[in-house]
Symmetry: C2
Subunit: 481 residues, 2 copies
């Protein structure tokens, strides 16, 4: 039986440090995370391995949603043009990016339908029916669906695609205070999901000219790619009453007055998987965080003709012991030489490889090799479940630490606008007075984007990089993906 | 906090036996399975309770897919017109039913895109890349996605909608024999899923004029609604090489020759949920099969002022005991009178209600009421996990038996075409020589559809109802939804 997709056993063509994007494009295909040969540009096929990883990420998101009393729903894909156009900034922001359904069967439709680029305009007409009184608040729902944007920039698997695997939560609250409490909770939810993926990330309040169309403010969630560019992996928004007014979402207070609800959303996409691939992978292939690895530990039997039966028996026992310890383990009992098997499982990013041969059995151990560092050692066969669990925890913790250190290394403080340029691949912290004039001047001169100001306050104060005003808080600026 | 959707505490307006469809339309809204007020006809919002049920059904499908070595994938929603039009019967079958994306942003697309009505034409161009040699076979994949058909008939929640929650598996095989083995396996998969839902069902090879566009033959999977009409809940197809030829899906045999693959598909939809609602529900609301009930047993505390603390303590202990026995139990500790709580949980279809009051505690029992039959009794508190598990198993088995008996009651043998009509709500077994002439003559005279001939052979033989030829096998005919 085949594995659907375009799996190949060729080596990666490019070293990660030589050309990050060539390496990235190559690895998503070689590790068979998706197939990019579908006849529409930017719409890729999720092949089994990639889809398994994405579904595991979704499972973490659902876990966090459950724990915070969000209910899962599923809204229609298509949105009537009339509903879509109710919030003016929103439609302006998406005007050039949406796909339109104009015909059904052989006939044109009376009202054109938008293929959802996000679901505000699908959901909010219903929210106006669902929310009646203060007792209906907060309303907290989420869905995991596909969304569509007509990208004109170069597409790239998981990072910039035209059909996007998308998570979105939407909430309604009685007042701003409660809504902003929700944004805080959203930030914690993102922390929890990113922890499982060993993805360092920052929360920055976007500039006014870069916020989500229709938002009061936007908190961008960014991580840093190995080339020093930032990747937005999600965003949380406080909408104030910007949508509840055009969509007429009101509630009756205890005193009988009617008020518009305050709304928030949180969104994350398949970019989470792109970030995992880009941040952790190396020249031998994927390096998967233990929490999402479909196979967390692979067992490779090492035998000669005279001890095959014994080795296989010990391997099978080890596999069973790992399974009963709740570890996703796989015994690779296929034909083929151990070296060839090592190669394949490295490419697939399995966090821990266990080799069991005659010598190991004599010593009552399995030899392990960590995928992240290559370090080798042994675990006792007798307590293999416990030993492997501990190793996986260490691997996860080390992957996070190592990624955090790398990402910190990209950031410089920058205060002198007489400098002619800021090198490619560098991210800067600047003092910023917050004025659009200073912001634009900086962005234009260095061809960088101000990502925003810290959502979680930082101690740092300095002069505005542009106008020199003193006592300004920090902002971060980068080149983005 | 509210429950998203249009939950109401009104009673059902119509008795199931008085007008099945009025009752059905009412119950899906009152039990809050979906919201049909979305501004596009036939595209409903999955509200939390309905979505939970559907996701549980999906989980059973995934379990069966895993057990039979199908791998999960996810293909793009949109299909270029050029690919869509490669198989002629297929496109003819869907021509009047598909939605077309014609514009992106402000501009018309060069090639129009079909919003998938099913995924043959999305998948098979990729299959032709994936399948190379006999070692790649069988290829077995599946996906759970939304599909779209521009229904012109009256829409009805879960039964006839324009955005359809859809499961589809697709396989490629070296020859007809292996492909037909797959169809057999598909039938067993459907059996296993329907067993969990307590849905009686039949497998009938559709007539040639009613098979899936492009199929060599189609096995329709039908169940019977309380009004005697049949509902197709799924279908399995053997495509022969009808698609592999236009899409050029070939493999190299061991002897070096190239052959077209033989293909099959299996599809099931949200109609499974519609069938659960329609078959099992009653005048008090849903009656959920234990396997899919989000709450399998609800505990209602019955206390007076002087024993509230004690009763609540016993209830909490019972809830914990049920949870640790793997039962989805919920203690309803909300304010409100027990009677009002009974009403709500009956509407939601919870299979087993447990009441625990002072007397029950004295006797060391909980009083139960079955949702399906209304029967009451007691279970020992000490072994409540075991007791409730047994009750749930009995309920499931009785629900299936009772549904099977009801459905058998709709079927008559019919052999005399001098009869002027066949009453509404009756299904007939006829002898049929298999000729289209006889088939059409029967269908036209009685305004019924021949559903097909048994996939699993029946002993029965008789004269063709039309031409009188002897020794013909049976066919079933019905009015369909």
């Amino acid at each position: 039986m085949t594995t659907a997709g375009n799996e190949k056993s060729d080596k990666l063509k490019t070293a990660k440090d030589d050309d990050f994007f060539e390496w990235y494009n190559d690895i998503v295909i070689k590790a068979n995370l998706c197939d990019n040969r579908y006849p529409i540009k930017g719409m890729n096929v999720w092949t089994p391995y990639g889809w398994k990883l994405m579904r595991q990420i979704d499972a973490f998101i659902r876990r966090e949603m459950d724990a915070t009393d969000h209910e899962e729903v599923c809204f229609p894909l298509l949105i009537p043009e009339t509903e879509f156009k109710k919030e003016k900034d929103h439609i302006k922001g998406f005007d050039e990016e949406v796909y339109w359904v104009t015909h059904a069967g052989l006939n044109p439709l009376d009202i054109r339908l938008v293929v959802r680029p996000t679901s505000e305009t699908a959901m909010y007409p219903m929210f106006s029916l669902w929310v009646r009184s203060h007792q209906d608040l907060p309303l907290k729902i989420f869905q995991i669906v596909n969304t569509f944007r007509y990208e004109t920039k170069q597409t790239r698997a998981f990072m910039r695609v035209r059909e996007i695997h998308f998570f979105e939560s939407h909430t309604c609250h009685a007042d701003r205070e409660d809504a902003e409490r929700q944004v805080k909770q959203d930030i914690e939810i993102v922390d929890a999901v990113c922890r499982e993926l060993c993805i360092p990330h920052s929360f920055l309040i976007r500039t006014d000219w870069d916020k989500f169309p229709g938002a009061f403010y936007t908190v961008g969630i960014d991580t840093i790619m190995p080339d020093g560019r930032t990747l937005q992996i999600g965003s949380a928004h406080y909408y104030s009453t910007n949508f509840s007014k055009p969509y007429n979402i009101t509630y009756e207070k205890e005193n009988g007055e009617h008020e518009y609800v305050h709304q928030t959303t949180l969104g994350m996409t398949e970019r989470l998987l792109g970030a995992v691939v880009g941040i952790h992978g190396d020249n031998s292939g994927l390096v998967l965080p233990p929490a999402i690895a479909p196979v967390q530990a692979v067992i490779i039997p090492i035998f000669k003709k005279d001890n095959e039966a014994e080795v296989m028996q010990v391997c099978r026992a080890a596999e069973a012991a790992l399974a009963s310890a709740g570890i996703r383990a796989k015994l690779d009992d296929s034909d083929g030489r151990p070296g060839a098997k090592f190669y394949v499982w490295e490419l697939k990013g399995v966090p821990l490889r266990l080799e069991i041969g005659g010598k190991d059995i004599e010593n009552g151990v399995a030899t392990f090799a960590r995928r992240d560092t290559g370090a080798k050692g042994t675990v006792e066969l007798e307590s293999i479940g416990q030993g492997v669990r501990m190793m996986l925890d260490i691997i996860a913790s080390d992957m996070m630490k190592s990624a955090e250190e790398k990402q910190k290394g990209f950031i410089d403080d920058f205060s002198d606008m007489s400098a002619e340029s800021i090198p490619e691949g560098r991210i800067v912290r600047i003092g910023w007075c917050g004025s659009p004039e200073c912001g634009h001047k900086f962005e234009d001169k260095y061809d960088m984007k101000i990502l925003g100001t810290p959502y979680r306050p930082e101690e740092w104060k300095g002069r505005c990089v542009c106008c020199g005003k003193e006592g300004c808080g920090p902002a971060y600026a980068a080149r983005t993906l």
